[in-house]
Symmetry: C2
Subunit: 345 residues, 2 copies
C-alpha cells in the first residue's frame, strides 16, 4: 500500500513528494470518454460501479499517489431539494435559484445514507479495489461556492445575485450558509465513515470575494466544518482548496485545514512565505502548463518542488482542474517528473 | 478647472482624494441608455459627437474628478485588420482568431489618424467641453489582454488557445505582442497629442497568468509602452490597471507606471505594503459593494481611504468596471463619501 499521500498530509517524512491531479478522472482520458459515452454525466455520478471505475482509471494510467472519488460538487445541493441539470453549453443549471427566505426554508439538510447512498457505495467499492494501491480522497464543495451556484442558478461572471444577498440581506445569506455548513459536515463525515481516507473542500469561487468579505462570509463556516470534522474524525486529513487565493491567503491559513491547496496565480514561494511552516501545501502548476514541451514541464515541476520545500510538507498538484484538452502523455510526464525530482535523499 | 485628479496622479498634494469610476460612462445610466437606444454599440464608439456626449454624462451626474473617453479596447484591434462584432449574448466576437504566423503577419500597425480618426475627434470635442471642468483620460487595452481576444476570438474561460501559443510557439506569440506593443504606443501617443491628459492601460486578463508567465510574456511589453510614452510625453501620467493583481503585484510595480490600479480581491493595506511609497494607487472598492446600503458604502470608502493613506497618493475608484445593474444614487453616494471623508486637513 502506497501511503505517501496520507503521510504527506500529516506532515510526516516521505520518500518522495506525492502527486495527484484535480479532476484526474475526467474528459481528457479516452478511457473515461468510453464510459461517459454510454451514460449521461449525472447517471455516471450516481452509479457506484461506474463512478468507481472512472475513479480508478487515472491511478493506473497516470501513476498518481491518491484516488479522488468521481462525483460533482452539486450532488448534495440536489439532495437539499434543488433541481439539477447539466447542459453541454452552460454547465450546471439549478432550477429556481434560491433568492428568498421561503426558498432557503424549503432546503433540507440531507442524510447522505438516505439521499446519496450511491456516493457511499462508490466509496466502499473503491476501498476494496484500492486496497493495495493508494488512498482514497472524498470531497465536497465549500459552502460559499455551493451558495453561489444555488443563488445564481448556475455559473456566473459577476456573482451579483450572490453578493446582493450577502450585502442586502446578510441574515438570509447566513441562514443559507448555516444550512450548507451542516450539509457539508454531515456529507463529508459520512464519506469518511464509509472509507474516505482524506477529504478536500473545494472553494472554487472563494477568490471572487474581497479579503474583508471572505473573512466575514466564508471563513467562519469553513472553520466550523474543519473543526467538526477534526472532532469526529481526528485522524482524517482535511485539505482546503480556495481558488484564486493570492489576496486572501492569510485568512485561508486560519481555516485550520491540514493541507492548503494553492492555485497557479501566486508564486509557491510567496504562498509558503505567508502560510508558514505549520501547514502542508498542495499545488500549484498552471493546468495550461501541461501543454508545454515535456522538458519545460519538468523545469516547472522542479521550480515548484524547490519553492514548496520550505513548507511543512508538499503534495504536488495542478493549480486547478486538469483541462479536457490535455494530452495524457503530458500528464504522465508531469507525474513522472514529480516522482523523479521530488525524491528525497 | 478641477485639477485634483492630475495632481494626485503626479503624487502632488491635493485638497481631497479625487475619484472616478471605471466604465463610468455606461449602461447603468438612463441617460446613456437613451443615446445607446438610437445606435448600436460600435456606431456609438465611432461617432465623435455621441461618444463625447456619453463621456460627459457621469461628470455632471456623479460629480467625478475625471472623464474617461467612451470607447472600446478592441477598437485598435479592428484597425489592425480583424473583423469585430458585438453580440448581446457573447460580447465581442473577433472573426478568424489569430493562431498562425500568416495571421500575425497580416496584422497592420494602424495609424490612429488614418484608421481611428473618430477617437481623436471625440478627444478634441471633449477637451473643449471639459475646459472648465475636469481632466480627460485616454485609454488602451494592454497588449496581453488584447492578444487574448485576438487569439481566442472573444472572451474565454480558460484562455487555453492563448496559453497554447505562448507555450508551444513563443516566437509567434512574441511577434504578435511586438505588433500590439507598437500599436498601443502609437494609439496612446496620438490620444495624448489630441488632448488626453492622462492615459490608462487596461490589463483585464493579466491576472490569469502565473507570476512567472506574467514576468515573461507581459511585463516587458508594458514596460516598453510606459517607457515610450514617458519619453514622448513626459508630463502625461500613465495609469496601469492589471486586474486580479494580488499574485503578481510585485511585478506590476516594475511597470514604471505613475499610478497602479488595484482590483478588489486584495486588501488595500496589503497592496500599498507591496507597492511602497513611490507609486500612487487607484482603487479598490468591489463594484458589487455599490449594492450595499449607503451607510455601509460610506464605511467601505473610509476603510479604503485609510489604508491607501500610506501610499504616495490615492485616486479612489472601483476595483473593476461599474456594473450595468448599479443604482445611480449609490454611485453618487460613493463619490460624495470619497469627497467627504477624503478631504485633507
Amino acid at each position: 500500500m502506497n501511503n505517501t499521500f496520507l503521510k504527506a498530509c500529516r506532515g510526516e517524512k516521505t520518500e518522495y513528494i506525492p502527486v495527484w491531479l484535480m479532476r484526474q478522472a475526467g474528459r481528457y482520458l479516452p478511457e473515461y470518454q468510453a464510459v461517459r459515452g454510454q451514460v449521461d454525466f449525472l447517471t455516471l455520478c450516481k452509479t457506484p460501479e461506474l463512478a468507481a471505475k472512472v475513479t480508478l482509471q487515472p491511478v493506473d494510467i497516470l501513476g498518481v499517489d491518491a484516488a479522488i472519488l468521481f462525483s460533482d460538487i452539486l450532488i448534495p445541493v440536489e439532495a437539499m431539494g434543488m433541481h439539477l441539470e447539466f447542459s453541454e453549453k452552460k454547465g450546471p443549471v439549478l432550477g429556481e435559484p434560491v433568492r428568498s427566505k421561503s426558498a432557503v426554508e424549503k432546503l433540507i439538510i440531507p442524510d447522505t445514507e438516505d439521499s446519496m447512498p450511491f456516493v457511499l457505495d462508490a466509496i466502499k467499492i473503491l476501498r476494496r479495489e484500492l486496497e493495495n494501491k493508494v488512498p482514497l480522497i472524498g470531497f465536497s464543495g465549500a459552502p460559499f461556492t455551493l451558495a453561489t451556484y444555488m443563488i445564481e442558478g448556475g455559473s456566473s461572471k459577476t456573482f451579483l445575485n450572490t453578493k446582493k444577498m450577502m450585502f442586502q440581506n446578510s441574515g438570509l445569506f447566513n441562514y443559507l450558509m448555516k444550512k450548507l455548513t451542516k450539509t457539508v459536515i454531515s456529507y463529508l463525515s459520512s464519506q469518511i465513515s464509509a472509507g474516505a481516507q482524506a477529504v478536500q473542500l473545494f472553494d472554487s469561487w472563494a477568490g471572487i470575494l474581497s479579503p474583508f468579505d471572505y473573512k466575514e462570509f466564508e471563513l467562519p463556516y469553513v472553520k466550523k466544518i474543519v473543526t467538526a470534522l477534526k472532532k469526529q474524525h481526528p485522524e482524517t486529513p482535511v485539505i482546503y482548496f480556495a481558488n484564486d487565493c493570492a489576496g486572501i491567503i492569510k485568512e485561508v491559513k486560519k481555516s485550520g485545514a491540514d493541507v492548503i491547496g494553492i492555485d497557479w496565480r501566486i508564486d509557491m514561494k510567496d504562498a509558503v512565505g505567508k502560510l508558514g511552516k505549520k501547514v502542508v501545501v498542495q499545488g500549484n502548476l498552471d493546468p495550461c502548463a501541461l501543454f508545454l514541451p515535456k522538458e519545460q514541464i519538468e523545469e516547472r515541476v522542479q521550480d515548484i518542488l524547490a519553492k514548496a520545500g520550505a513548507a511543512k510538507g508538499h503534495i504536488f498538484n495542478l493549480g486547478h482542474g486538469i483541462l479536457p484538452e490535455t494530452p495524457v502523455e503530458n500528464a504522465i510526464a508531469m507525474v513522472e517528473a514529480v516522482h523523479k525530482y521530488g525524491r528525497k535523499e
